[in-house]
Symmetry: C2
Subunit: 461 residues, 2 copies
Amino acid sequence: MTLNAIKRLSLAMLGLSLAGLAGAATPPNVIIIFADDLGYGDLACYGHPSIRTPHLDRMAAEGLRFTDFYAAAALCTPSRAALLTGRHAIRSGMTHRPGTRAVLFPDSPGGLPPSEITLAEALKMAGYATALIGKWHLGIHEGSRPRDQGFDHNFGLPYSNDMDRREDVPGEARFRPDPPADGWNVPLLRNEEVIERPADQTTLTKRYTEEAVRFITANRTKPFFLYLAHNMPHTPVFASEAFRGKSPRGAYGDAVEELDWSTGEVLAALRREGLAERTLVIFTSDNGPWLTEREQGGSAGLLRDGKGSTWEGGMRVPGLAWMPGRIAPGVTSEAAGTLDLFPTALALAGQPSPAGVTLDGTDLSPLLFAGRAPPERPFFYYRGSDIYAVRLGPWKAHFFTQGGFGDPARKAHAPPQLFHLARDPSEQFNVAADHPDVLARLRTAVAAHQAAVVPGEPQLQ
Amino acid sequence: MTLNAIKRLSLAMLGLSLAGLAGAATPPNVIIIFADDLGYGDLACYGHPSIRTPHLDRMAAEGLRFTDFYAAAALCTPSRAALLTGRHAIRSGMTHRPGTRAVLFPDSPGGLPPSEITLAEALKMAGYATALIGKWHLGIHEGSRPRDQGFDHNFGLPYSNDMDRREDVPGEARFRPDPPADGWNVPLLRNEEVIERPADQTTLTKRYTEEAVRFITANRTKPFFLYLAHNMPHTPVFASEAFRGKSPRGAYGDAVEELDWSTGEVLAALRREGLAERTLVIFTSDNGPWLTEREQGGSAGLLRDGKGSTWEGGMRVPGLAWMPGRIAPGVTSEAAGTLDLFPTALALAGQPSPAGVTLDGTDLSPLLFAGRAPPERPFFYYRGSDIYAVRLGPWKAHFFTQGGFGDPARKAHAPPQLFHLARDPSEQFNVAADHPDVLARLRTAVAAHQAAVVPGEPQLQ
């Protein structure tokens, strides 16, 4: 059976399952708010001293705040592929290999394969209205575009906001909030149509928010899945007039504070429409902060390194889950991540996982709704197509280490470096020599995963 | 007029002022809870992922959380001298100079001079019951002891819990919670009497807490000042049986989580006695985390360096202010610190500042009770007797930099290194070249301070 045949069969089975639920109560909505390059330390509720995030702090206080929530990769494209498929990006071929670029670029031929079942496709088959508002970055060619991958509708940029750089705009002038004279020529799309080029980046967050609120309001009577994937605070950071120049943290803070406002607007719309208690809202980020971007990059707080790296700062990100009346307020240190959102959303929708598809995450419903910890399971820190590190319980072993950007070579470690993440969250003290038994368990977990994983056809060149 | 004569006159005037208030309502109580070597990043409400501090988080949510709160020095002895006198430690001679030790040791001849007016003395003259429960570290000789400096009563260790080290107990065994066989021979005092030696450090926090609750209960009908100066989480970290081995963060986390419990007990006692709305409670730390102590040391979060250093991590610490009904819940990024506690407490007590005494802080009452920012004022980062750095508004200039410990030499900077602490809280990007005007203002502030400051007779040898 080809992959596409498996996909057709899986979706058909989801459809049958839905038919069996006919007449049942409307299943809950799902909203995933995905920030771009927001670091672990960049919200006030994660300890930032000069970025003000009262709406996200309130969301955290009313919901569940994760201390150990992981993006599935340390870079945009593989992280987004993994979130939407519920699978490590290597399975869809959305990871780099030696000699290829690390993410999709405007001239890349590849994209998320049509054979992959996205969360949007699975929920659409279950009767959900689906929308991508914001950044895609999973391919611009037929078969890989948002509407080819289960979204009824999309509005946003096809890739990162620092692509299509205008070489005619010099240096710092690129960052000036003077559209259309800023330094990037990225297109703004509605579905497949370019409606603005260059996109006015200063109003992106504002327009994404308005679009999100319209989508929520329009779908108040049916289940919906909203994937609100902001372009901010990825460099170049921009904010609308109401936020520009306002944050003590500078331009980066302006962008994050506008995201905070945006999240407040989304939650307010849910409350206003009476949907708060039947909408799961997740807020997280695609990877850690871009540390080489100076003040345009964020902070990983006490975590080591940032975007691009498999040190904690590259992949551990803010993670908030909100559903008043269903999720009890609190803080959890259970390890979880974006790979878990696919099975969690399907469980919430009352749907089985797609048949014949290997998922890498776990349904978090017992944790979210009943405070029951998920079973211990390994988490694999991929950098491109290689596993650089693995976590099991509090233990993390690094087989390779490498800085996020500007660190050209990886260091191999034999034996691996071993850190206890709860006792040593900043990964300072290698205790491999004291715990050969732990290393053996971690090695076994990696071997079992690698023996079973089937890499997808490479999409990055 | 000698210093002692000034002190006598000042105290007499405080007494007259009190007489004038006869019949007025009971002034509010003041409690300062002072952790030892607790880092900026070590509480959940400041972003720590694996130390659980629900009571302090609740105190923060009910009160005012400071993002920019400073200890007055990066080491125990000068920090404590400054807090209790409201004056930079150089004024009382409690700072090191080249060739001297950095803090008081058990064999040190010096101590806080009798001529200094402590907050305990000032409040005692205003009719307050006063107690030190916990660590002193301002001298063990007559004239410098707690009861010589205004405390009616004291219970605790005379100095740090890692002093009086037992050389007969080898290496790691020193840290085992097996009293009296652990590795330190520190005495526990009640007033001037040694009541236990070595002190059982595992139950110190517990016993300090019980003593604090007894003091509160016993003084429910009169104003009181409680200085609850914990010995934890200064290495060697110990916790009582209920906390030992419980924190995911290990032994350090056990100690901090017991401090969290302790703070919860104090606030509960205030509520129980009906005193919550007329007691100002401050929670803070004497300096940043001791980074060279590996897992026995804490975390400065996103701040640079730690204890001993004038980078932010050495002196910026958690700061919480709580007084339900008087202090509105919130977060402030106004710069403030332990130097402000003396004038704030006196204002709360309705007392003028002692005549003829130069104070270095500002009354925070307008900020605490009305949300009004204090006037912009410089903050001086002393290392020993030298000013290494200065802050004014968001700007910080470093004239010298040096790591906390194990960094033998200071580096002089001409021009000074300049950082914008709100935009760059981790002090990564020196922007001195772009802001000569700011540097000039900062230099002027230092020059004005140095022209006026009168160093006290040196106490450290």
